[in-house]
Amino acid sequence: MTGLSLDVMLDILPKMLHAAWVTIEICALTIVFSVAMGFLLATVRLLGGRVSSTAVLCFVEFTRGVPQLVQIALIYFALPRLGLFLNEFWTGVTALTFIGAGYAVEIIRGAVQSLDNGQRENAVALGLSERQALFLVLYPQAIRRTLPPLTNELANVVKASALLSVISVNELMHVSHAIIFEEFIVYEVLIELAVLYVVIIGCLVALSRYLEERAKA
């Protein structure tokens, strides 16, 4: 067993940083898409008829009840069958958006329903339609409450992005895996891998702590 080699660590660092950047790109895109889709589906769930809100409920139960790895494989194999040929990067973003949106829907719906029911009743009594009440009165208040759990969920999305290595997206985990098994450098890679993830996710967790403190005040 040899000790840690600083030279090796510096040697692999540019590759690792490049891969970390891909991870950050994927996560940033996923975060934007899944929050947008979460709001869209939460709106359907809150305003839609019985059929459409049940459909959203089924989607949510599916994304929460099936392992992320299985969902990623499903998207990877199902998209080409549907005639959508995306590269690995965008397949990965689609899969993570699918996973993230399921959680975002429930967080947003939970926040809206945790608001006092009088808010909606007052808005409707003042002559706003249900849709106006939701967009002009309930969502602006609910967004504040969704922020802490949403950032928490986004940290989970970053962790889930490591699973994209199984569909050969060139993100942090995949690149590290390649270095470990092609060049047999174990400790150096694992340490840099852990440090990079801790930095990325640590930032998000710290942000979520901060937002939670502020939401309490």
Binding site: P67, V70, I180
Partner: protein, 228 residues
Amino acid sequence: MDFGYMIYALPRLLPGLWVTIEVSAISLALALIIGVTLGASRSFMTMRNPLAWPLDGYVWLVRCTPIIVQIYAAYLLLPKAGIRLDAFWVGVIALTFNSVGYQIEIARAAIQSVGKGQLEASLSLGLSQRQAVWLVIMPQALKRMIPGITNEMSHLVKASSVLSVITVLELHKVASNLQIQSFKFLELLALQALLYLPLILGMSRLASYLEHNVFAFEGTRPHTEEVR
């Protein structure tokens, strides 16, 4: 969809499902014991205690790295440390390592959410510190831990699918082996969803049953009617 193939594949997936249940159940049991013990001790520690720092660091590390990294780390580092186990037990160790980190937080949060007044009141009524913790604080805290722990349970089952990368023959690995032979991707993925869903939905049902029936005592509501 080829339903004939699905009927052919289903019995071949069941041993994998059983391994998934086994690996998650063993890890859950181990993690529950270790996590609740450590979390409970952590909640009665101050930051001056020398054990508080490493515990917090451990929780931070577990929560800030993806599970796949932890699984690879266990797979690569255990043999280097001279511990040679088969993939199943490496998987158990990796999942336990992961789950303990989360359960420490669950236990700590539950215990700290029980009001400080409870401890003070019990002490002033003449209970010893140990009696106060075990007879007053813990029953209330356990009740509050149930949702977090059942949540963690379903996370664990889902995380066990990642053990496929270190060749543990659990449900996802068995299914992907079949996929490579038959190229029936959608059929096998649908079957996996069908097998995972009831497992996880069943657990969330169990959670709400435990919450509403077994631990349904009112430990948290102030007994205003007894104040005269």
